[in-house]
C-alpha cells in the first residue's frame, strides 16, 4: 500500500516536471506577442517576458535540483553500484 502510494506520487511528480520543462521550452519565445511592438519602460514588452522567463526557469531548475526531481530518469543508483 505504502509502496504503491510512493510510486504513484513519484510518477505524478515526474509527469509534472516533464510538463513544466515542456512549458519552459515552449514559451521561451513569447509566440503570443508575435508582431507586437509595445514598449514598456524603455524596452520591448517581449524582452521583459524574456527577463521574467529566464528568472522563472532558474527558480524552476533550482526547485527541480532541490526536491525529489533530481536523479529521476538517470538511474544514478545503478551507475554508483556499478
Amino acid at each position: 500500500m505504502n509502496y504503491y502510494h510512493g510510486v504513484m506520487t513519484r510518477n505524478r511528480s515526474d509527469l509534472l516536471w516533464i510538463l513544466a520543462f515542456a512549458a519552459l521550452v515552449a514559451f521561451a519565445i513569447p509566440w503570443f506577442l508575435w508582431g507586437d511592438a509595445t514598449v514598456v519602460a524603455g524596452l520591448p514588452l517581449w524582452l521583459w517576458w524574456h527577463v521574467g522567463w529566464m528568472a522563472l526557469a532558474s527558480v524552476a531548475f533550482y526547485a527541480f535540483a532541490r526536491t525529489g526531481g533530481w536523479d529521476r530518469g538517470v538511474d544514478a543508483g545503478v551507475i554508483r553500484r556499478g
Binding site: I29, W46, H50, S58, W70, I79
Partner: protein, 497 residues
C-alpha cells in the same frame, strides 16, 4: 599614437594577467592525464559555471552576435534564451549529469572513450574523436580570425592581421601546454567575470551618453520599426526554433563543453550550475545584443568587414574603454580556443594516437604528444586562418560557427540514445553518426549553391533534418542488430530491467 599605446597597453596587460594565472595553475598540476585534462575532477560551482560559460562564448558574443542584432534586430536575444538558458540547461542535466556519474564510475576523460568502452568498440571511439576534430578545426580557425581582426580594428591597422592572430595563437599554446585544464578553467573564470563587467559598463556608458534606455529604444524603433516588434525579416518561427535547437544540441557534444561534464567535484556543483544557467544567459546576452540593435538608431554605419560594437564604443566611450571591450572580446576568443585546443589534444592523444598508433605508449609519452598536438593543431588553424581570413565578409564567422555546431549536433542524439536506451548497439551508433554526418557535410559546404541541396526542407533547417536522420538510423540499425558480447549497457546504468 598615444591612444594606440593605451590600447596595446591594455591588451598586453590583460594577456600578462592571464599568463600569471596559468603559471600558478602549472605549479599545481601534476603530470597525470586526468589532472591535465580534468583537473582531477575537482572543479567547484563557480569555476565550472564560468569555465563552461566562457568556453561557449566566442568571437560571436562580441562581434558576430551584435552584428546580427544590428542587421536583423534584437530577437536574437530570445533565440539565445531558448538555446542556452533552457535547452542547454536541460541537456546539462540529461547528458551532463549522467556523463558525470558514468565518467566518475569508470574514469573516462573523453566522449569517445566513454562510448568506445560502453560499446566495446575502438572504431566507434575513433569515429567520435575524428568527427569531433573535423569540426573543431574550422571553429578554432574562426576564433583566430576574430582575434586577428579585433587587433587590427583596435590599432587601426598598426598591428597587422597576421601578427595579431599569431600573437594570440602563440600565447594560447604556451599556457595550455603548460597549465592544462586547471589553468584554462581559472583563466576562463577570470575572463567570464571580466566580459560580464565590461559589457554592462558599456551599456551604462552608451545609455548615459545617448540619453537613456528609452531614447535608445525609441531611436531604434524609429530607424527600423520592425526591430521593436517580435519577429519579421530573418526571424521566422522556424528559423528561431531551428537555430536554438541545433546549436543547443551541438554545444552539448562540442569537445570542450562535453568534457566539462566530467570535471565537477560533486553532484551539488552540477545542481547549482544547472539552476544558474538562465541567469547567466540573461546577464550577458541581453546587454551585448541590445547594444548591437540600439546602434541602428544612433546612425552608426558599419563598413564592410568591420564589427558594430567597437565602432559604437569608439563613438560613445573613451578610447581606453573601447580597448577594454576589445580585450574582453579577445578574452572570449581565447577562453574558447584554449579549451578547444586542450580538448582537441585529449581527443587526439587518447582516442586516436593511443588506440590506433601506439597502444603501449607510456604516460609520459602521451603527455608529450598531447602538448605537441596542441601546438601543431593551433599552428595549422593559424595558417588556415591566414589563407581565408583578413579582410571583408565577416559573415563568414557566423556561417562557419553555425556549420560547426550543426556538425556536433549530429552526435548528440546518438549520445542520448546510448545513455538512456539499453537496446542501442555499436552498429546503431556507428551508422547513425556516419549517416547524419554524410548528409550534413555536403549541406554545410554546398547547400543553396547546388540545385539538389537546399538550406531548408519544408521550411526547416537542413541541420534539423540531419539530426532526424541520426535518430532514425541509430534506432533502426540498433533494432536490426544485436549487441556484441563486449557491449555493456550496465556501464551506463541502463542494463536489462
Amino acid at each position: 599614437m598615444a591612444e594606440l599605446g593605451t590600447s596595446l597597453g591594455i591588451v598586453v596587460g590583460y594577456l600578462a594577467i592571464t599568463l600569471a594565472v596559468g603559471l600558478v595553475a602549472y605549479r599545481l598540476t601534476d603530470r597525470s592525464a586526468e589532472d591535465y585534462y580534468l583537473a582531477s575532477r575537482s572543479v567547484g560551482t563557480v569555476v565550472l559555471l564560468f569555465t563552461t560559460f566562457a568556453t561557449l562564448l566566442s568571437a560571436f558574443t562580441f562581434f558576430g552576435g551584435p552584428n546580427l542584432a544590428f542587421s536583423a534586430g534584437p530577437e536574437w536575444i530570445l533565440v539565445m534564451g531558448l538555446m542556452d538558458g533552457i535547452l542547454f540547461a536541460l541537456l546539462w542535466y540529461a547528458i551532463g549529469y549522467k556523463q558525470w556519474l558514468v565518467g566518475k564510475a569508470h574514469g573516462y576523460v573523453t566522449l569517445g572513450e566513454m562510448l568506445g568502452d560502453r560499446f566495446g568498440s575502438t572504431g566507434l571511439r575513433g569515429l567520435v574523436a575524428g568527427v569531433s576534430l573535423l569540426w573543431l578545426f574550422p571553429y578554432v580557425m574562426l576564433q583566430q580570425i576574430g582575434a586577428g581582426q579585433a587587433l587590427v580594428g583596435l590599432t587601426d591597422g598598426a598591428v597587422p592581421y597576421w601578427a595579431g592572430a599569431a600573437m594570440i595563437t602563440v600565447f594560447m599554446v604556451a599556457y595550455v601546454a603548460l597549465s592544462g585544464l586547471r589553468g584554462v578553467a581559472w583563466t576562463d573564470t577570470l575572463q567570464g567575470v571580466f566580459m560580464l563587467g565590461v559589457v554592462w559598463l558599456a551599456v551604462a556608458w552608451v545609455a548615459s551618453a545617448a540619453g537613456g534606455v528609452s531614447a535608445l529604444t525609441a531611436g531604434m524603433a524609429q530607424a527600423n520599426p520592425e526591430f521593436a516588434s517580435l519577429g519579421g525579416g530573418l526571424y521566422s518561427p522556424q528559423w528561431m526554433i531551428g537555430t536554438a535547437v541545433v546549436i543547443a544540441f551541438g554545444v552539448a557534444a562540442f569537445p570542450q563543453v562535453n568534457q566539462r561534464f566530467f570535471m565537477a567535484d560533486r553532484a551539488e556543483t552540477l545542481k547549482r550550475s544547472f539552476a544558474l544557467w538562465p541567469v547567466l544567459v540573461l546577464l550577458l546576452f541581453v546587454p551585448a545584443f541590445l547594444l548591437g540593435s540600439w546602434a541602428v538608431g544612433l546612425g552608426i554605419t558599419v563598413p564592410d568587414g568591420s564589427n558594430v560594437l567597437p565602432i559604437l564604443l569608439n563613438e560613445y566611450t573613451p578610447a581606453w574603454f573601447a580597448a577594454l571591450v576589445v580585450a574582453g572580446a579577445l578574452a572570449a576568443m581565447m577562453s574558447s580556443s584554449d579549451s578547444m585546443l586542450l580538448s582537441g589534444s585529449s581527443y587526439f592523444t587518447r582516442d586516436l594516437y593511443r588506440p590506433f598508433v601506439a597502444p603501449d605508449a607510456s604516460d609520459a609519452r602521451e603527455g608529450w604528444i598531447a602538448r605537441v598536438g596542441v601546438a601543431v593543431f593551433a599552428a595549422s588553424t593559424f595558417v588556415a586562418s591566414l589563407l581565408v581570413g583578413g579582410g571583408g565578409g565577416l559573415d563568414v564567422l557566423v556561417t562557419l560557427g553555425d556549420t560547426a555546431f550543426g556538425g556536433y549536433a549530429q552526435l548528440t542524439i546518438p549520445l542520448l540514445l546510448a545513455l538512456y536506451w539499453a537496446r542501442t548497439t555499436k552498429w546503431g551508433m556507428v551508422a547513425g553518426i556516419a549517416a547524419a554526418e554524410a548528409v550534413y557535410i555536403p549541406h554545410a559546404l554546398f547547400a543553396g549553391d547546388v540545385a539538389f541541396l537546399s538550406t531548408t526542407y519544408l521550411t526547416w533547417d537542413y541541420a534539423l533534418w540531419c539530426m532526424l536522420v541520426s535518430l532514425v538510423v541509430t534506432v533502426g540499425v540498433s533494432l536490426v542488430t544485436t549487441a556484441a558480447p563486449a557491449e555493456n549497457a550496465e556501464k551506463f546504468g541502463v542494463g536489462a530491467d
